[in-house]
Amino acid sequence: MSVAEGAARPIGARQPIPHQVSTEPFDPASIERLTPGQERYYLASQWRMMWWRFRRHRLAVVSAAILIVMYAAILISEPLAPYDLHSRNIDFIYAPPQRVHFIHDGEFIGPFVYPFDYELNMENLQRTYTPDTNRPQPLRFFCSGDTYRFWGWIEASFHFVCPPEDGTLFFFGTDRLGRDMLSRIIYGARISLTIGLLGVSVSFLLGVIIGGLAGYHGGWVDNVSQRLIEVLRSLPHVPLWLALSAILPVTWSPILVYFGITIILGLLDWTGLARAVRSKLLALREEDFCVAAQLMGASPRRIIARHLLPSFASHLIASVTLSVPTMILGETALSFLGLGLRAPITSWGVLLNEAQNINVVALYPWLMLPVAPVILVVLAFNFMGDGLRDAADPYK
């Protein structure tokens, strides 16, 4: 190919680029140097990256916020609830939820309720409550109402919201003893929300220890634990829960029963976690850092706890979060059947126990309201767990 041909190409017709030399001093490291923004990004720790990843999952962040609020609320159940847990209003049995109004006779007078007029329908003996719309009763805020013992210790009577003077305030209606459902739901959160956490910590301990031993040692330890896991996984959980909670003696105090139930819930749940831990350890124990630790004479316990487990801690957290809702639903189901927690203790399952009858659905549907927080919490844990699982491996 000749030069003349090349010169004939349209490229040759372009203007030559003006010769240019930068006068700035040459810095050989200029490519490697990072802007502050880049530096923040590239040098971020693993946990920071996980947080960035988690933040992108909007639903998970909202769920986490909801859960934080709910767990914070159980710290101050007493002032939060308008009534005390046990206060009964014998004049208002099976009262329907009261609505909060703001405008009376076309005039804004702040939040208030209308008192109930009670009437017994002599034909079917049904209690009918009709709001008396002539007498608005304004709510009281930051007031003193039913006395209670804060965390069983400090006697106080401060509430954020109180029923009006000589009036009632049943946002969610009352039950068969005239107890305020809202207050009972708020108190029940204490038990229902913590039972999941306690149960999960039992199953977490079992899962990490058994899975860790099986994965690290292999051999017969592995075989035995695998068999056991297989058996437990193939058994239907609810009948086993029933059988196990039938073991708890009737004479036990409510607090003991509470701990018994958490252990029962945890006892059947560890298998999934143990499997995950085992399969991770099987792969990780061959890694160089593990061999190095072995050569330096670290004990198996130290290697598992200090070197192996932290390398997939984030996965553990995510899977633990996802198993909390199972526990909460399990407690609800057990208490609903009357084999879980019993009456003096108030959990959402115990409250739902009252809604066992089809009549409730027909006549007093507000007794089913405790299911709303159950659904909310279970959904929130599921979404947050999803977000955590996505964020668990930020390098992907």
Partner: protein, 332 residues
């Protein structure tokens, strides 16, 4: 394949043995036994206790012997098809349980079919229309299905079925058909009652299945073979059915193993609420009154049912998916 079958069947034996021991320990764990509770109850009512009869029962069922002998007797009977003796009903467990077991099996089977039929089209639709309006809606309903306690759903549906369709409350058939021979009318009545428990028990399983199917199918749809197939001009529907759909069928089969315990659990819970003549309410009573052979044999039956379910799903999976290794050995 034959070797695999034999190995797989043999491996069920130790599993069932451990299970039976576990169950025996659990039903033995409450202090005392049925007879001592029974005697105490009679005495508290001031009635005479027929010591001879008690002694006879105690000896016949080996309640006076050490635990391991009791266990061996029980397990020996189980192998021969003798489920033991129900103290409360004063009948052999076989006779107490018989009819209820078949109804439990019917409900469980119908539930699994329901899960499959509902979750398959929804899962495929969700995956092919990812982030569409319906995908979001269905995903949300799925999450809701996981979160609503089944017993409450049962109550509400029961009420709804009664108000809307006039289905009698509770039971699996109209009261008139109980203890009647099977007829067309009875079958219809059972079908009219069956849908509530099936929907209730199947909801959480369906929700889980949809999520898994969607995730699996989404993974497959991003793979190169699918992209290639589409690039070569295979119409979307055909390309979908030909390969990725088959791949995503695996969870349907492999999940029988995990679905069965879930379905049986749900059945127990829901049947108590709905007072179905299945085994749930009976189990609850047996556990409360320490009727240990009734409870134990029943738990054992559920365990056998699930172990066989897992076995079947393993075999099916091995036939469906050639990548599944048939040889044993540790995975590493």
């Amino acid at each position: 394949m034959l070797g695999y079958l034999v190995r797989r069947i043999l491996s069920m034996v130790p599993t069932l043995l451990i299970t039976s021991a576990l169950i025996f320990i659990i039903i033995q764990a409450p202090p005392g036994d049925y007879l001592s509770t029974y005697i105490a109850e009679l005495e508290s009512q001031g009635e005479a206790v027929d010591q001879e009869k008690i002694g006879f029962i105690r000896a016949q069922y080996g309640l006076d012997q050490p635990l391991y002998v009791q266990y061996l007797k029980w397990i020996g009977g189980l192998v021969q098809g003798d489920l033991g003796y129900s103290f409360e009903y004063s009948l052999p467990v076989n006779e107490v349980v018989g009819d209820r077991l078949s109804l439990t099996a019917i409900v469980s089977l119908a539930t699994i079919l329901f899960v499959w039929i509902v979750s398959f089209p929804i899962g495929v639709y969700s995956a092919t229309h990812q982030y569409g309006v319906f995908d979001y809606l269905l995903t949300f309903i799925g999450f809701l299905g996981l979160a609503v306690p089944s017993f409450l759903l049962a109550l509400v549906l029961l009420y709804f079925a009664h108000v809307q369709f006039g289905v009698s409350i509770g039971g699996l058939m109209d009261p008139g058909y109980i203890d009647q021979p099977w007829t067309w009318g009875k079958l219809q009545s059972v079908l009219a009652h069956l849908w509530v428990p099936v929907v209730v028990i199947g909801t959480s399983g369906t929700a889980g299945m949809i999520r898994r199917l969607r995730a699996n199918l989404l993974d497959e749809l991003q793979k190169q073979y699918y992209v290639t197939a589409r690039a070569k001009g295979l119409p979307g529907w055909r390309a979908l059915i030909k390969y990725p759909l088959r791949m995503s069928l695996n969870p349907f089969v492999s999940d029988i193993g995990s679905l069965l315990p879930e379905v049986v659990s749900g059945a127990v819970l829901v049947s108590v609420v709905m007072s179905l003549p299945t085994t749930g309410p009976m189990l609850l009573d047996a556990l409360r009154s320490q009727d240990m052979y009734l409870a134990g044999s029943f738990l054992m039956f559920l365990a056998v049912l699930t172990v066989i379910g897992v076995f079947l799903s393993d075999i099916l999976l091995a036939m469906l998916d050639p990548r599944i290794r048939l040889s044993g050995g540790a995975t590493k």
